[in-house]
Assembly symmetry: D2
Amino acid sequence: MLTLIDERNKKYVVDGKKDFHTDLGVIKAEDIQNSKPGSIIKTHLGHEMKVIKANVNDYIDVMERRCTIILPKDIGIVITYTGIGCGDKVVEAGTGAGATTLRFSRVLGNEGKIYTYEKRKEFYEIAKRNIEKFGVKNVVMRYRDIRDGIIESDVDLVFLDMPDPWNVVEHAYEALKYGGWFVSYSPYVEQMKKTRKKCEEFNFSEIFTYECLLREMEIKNDAVRPKTRMIGHTAYITFARKVP
Amino acid sequence: MLTLIDERNKKYVVDGKKDFHTDLGVIKAEDIQNSKPGSIIKTHLGHEMKVIKANVNDYIDVMERRCTIILPKDIGIVITYTGIGCGDKVVEAGTGAGATTLRFSRVLGNEGKIYTYEKRKEFYEIAKRNIEKFGVKNVVMRYRDIRDGIIESDVDLVFLDMPDPWNVVEHAYEALKYGGWFVSYSPYVEQMKKTRKKCEEFNFSEIFTYECLLREMEIKNDAVRPKTRMIGHTAYITFARKVP
Amino acid sequence: MLTLIDERNKKYVVDGKKDFHTDLGVIKAEDIQNSKPGSIIKTHLGHEMKVIKANVNDYIDVMERRCTIILPKDIGIVITYTGIGCGDKVVEAGTGAGATTLRFSRVLGNEGKIYTYEKRKEFYEIAKRNIEKFGVKNVVMRYRDIRDGIIESDVDLVFLDMPDPWNVVEHAYEALKYGGWFVSYSPYVEQMKKTRKKCEEFNFSEIFTYECLLREMEIKNDAVRPKTRMIGHTAYITFARKVP
Amino acid sequence: MLTLIDERNKKYVVDGKKDFHTDLGVIKAEDIQNSKPGSIIKTHLGHEMKVIKANVNDYIDVMERRCTIILPKDIGIVITYTGIGCGDKVVEAGTGAGATTLRFSRVLGNEGKIYTYEKRKEFYEIAKRNIEKFGVKNVVMRYRDIRDGIIESDVDLVFLDMPDPWNVVEHAYEALKYGGWFVSYSPYVEQMKKTRKKCEEFNFSEIFTYECLLREMEIKNDAVRPKTRMIGHTAYITFARKVP
């Protein structure tokens, strides 16, 4: 996969399987196949496109979606505070458009696996297309309500972005490895509180909840300041670890 | 590697190569080798230890270090905003005690590689011991001042935690893949500003700087509130992407 | 002064000196004069208006202005960290539309005084109208560049919202009472740094800089969360106290 | 009242009614009476003390207290978002050590009045001493449980720092002027939520809740950064306005 950047700094993600059409003209599949990061290719109308290595963010930005996407800042802390990485087994619900699935997929590698549950047919189909098109091999999609149980066992992380994560705490406890993590992403205080209580009931350990705030700094006329606008809140992220 | 949790909730990370001594008694290497996550083993004094899968955070918490460690929150956003993952090639400086090296190592996998530069002999040695003991195979340590040049090429990410990252921007530009990222971690505004200017000179694109703030929520007597204490600042993290 | 609230929750601030015209009809001056907080009065078209005591925020919201207004959060910390109150003497520059002037005026009372400097004729005129209409007696307006010197002496607070506050540090030092405060409001790091250095040169004490962040909580469907949107930055507020 | 600053930058607040004893020696009452801001006076052991105008923060820092004090940042937003000022009438509970009482007292002036309720004898006595010693004339102390009713009427602000502010919403509604404000200061989400609901029942308008975060910037070796330590949370401050 490659990312093309046009003269207006607009980005496109292409795989070179077929000709690529934009309002600045057509790029032949062949030209894409022959290019590599660093190349500059031209549309049939003569407009230049810079070619760079595509990353998962480029792809998520342009892929089909009909729902909100969890921000990288929030997935970042899930990855580092649980310590997941290559070779690990992750269970996720709901899939949504598949953005988080792809992010996890990136850090789990070919030796790892992510099983993603989605009970809404529409999102299941969208995510399926998105994930297939991105071409990763370590994702297993499940068209299923995770509240009916988790099929996998010996799991390193169960990650939940759904309205009622407390209803999956028991299933998660069963599915998890000792030392593995349950993590839920919930916008509301009440969701977080109810989930934490359930985690305590099931004897999870190291229960903590973080909120992650990102501030962007800007430089204008050679002077530095934080940006005026900022996202005030996305969600409370609750972590709980299974111990004997 | 396994993590043991004693009755006081203190954690130990063990590899079972030899007997393990604590103030609660000795655990035989053999007992460690025969245990697995979920086991409970006893010291020769009869104290119980719960066994769980060790993760990179357990290990970093107990490993040798004589310097500050970059917090998971900050490495989290580096991972997700650059989109690095399995199979990628990362260059890092300075190594410090090796904590960040190990975190990157986790998400790069066996197909990926991290080259970590440290010019201070003392830290180089500490990190070497820490990394070897953790048993990862994708780390190449370089006892070298990264300001003298980056040996690698076609790199996905150059990550710098050093006082003068601006002195490495040129080397990073050369070493990076098109589409790869330069990221610097700097506590002071002036460092960030100087580095960003240098990135602009070298025609990097998508330059942005984030500060990541983590708030922990607590539940006391069944009532929720953010914790009184909070880390106010660690560093400004500047991102810049190489484009043609 | 009274605040009227119409059926759409839109607010108006009226003084009853003349008939008041809105798109919901006219209210006679007489009706306003005969009303008091708690009254409900009708326009000639029969629309009801609730009457409440007007406060300075109601007035600032509707008054004429062609510039950004400093937010209450920022003036709040100026008031409480300097400890100013009734009977104190404050010098301020620039006046802008007069919003901050009115806020200070409220807490200084009839025994106190605020001297506000504005060198831009247009803003001087706007502020003059705003301040006169609000009807306070403790404001002295100066159409003058404060960098040319401060006329007053024995001042409790010099508050500066201007691009180059460092150019007024010397004048402020002379004008201030021992124990009085110099405070500057600056969006950029560089302004703050330069001003602090100047304060150090003039031997000010208790120099500190705050940034004030306000998060609003919301309740939706009986569940609590911080709002998604938040103002990320307004200004760095630097305090310095004159000591012998 | 004057503030003395010794050679170690330690502060004392004195009224000159009697000799002042410190570990650096004694200062005669007469010497204090004859000094003014800007003076330098000596103890009988020859140590110098700088004299400055005392402010309410100097006094609060040294006064007797056996409880936590609400921080200036939080009182700041109460003052500016309600628009209270000289001549206003405020009701407060509980008094605690009287710090907030003194802050409000400063901005209400001689024409204003603050009625402060405290039901715990011990705190009532401490606050009484603190307030008398500070010498303000606009404070009326009430040794009384505010949940038994508010004696005053036509009040501009009812400010509550107590565990169950919802129990005072009805009394506050009765006591307030139309256009006046109910404000409660509560560390926990649940307190805030319960109070807001009660405010909705009593038909309060303009209900909103803020959390105020202060970040301090520091300069080290000529470089700027936010401080490492920060107060993560004090309280949720809920505002509600009485309308007809």
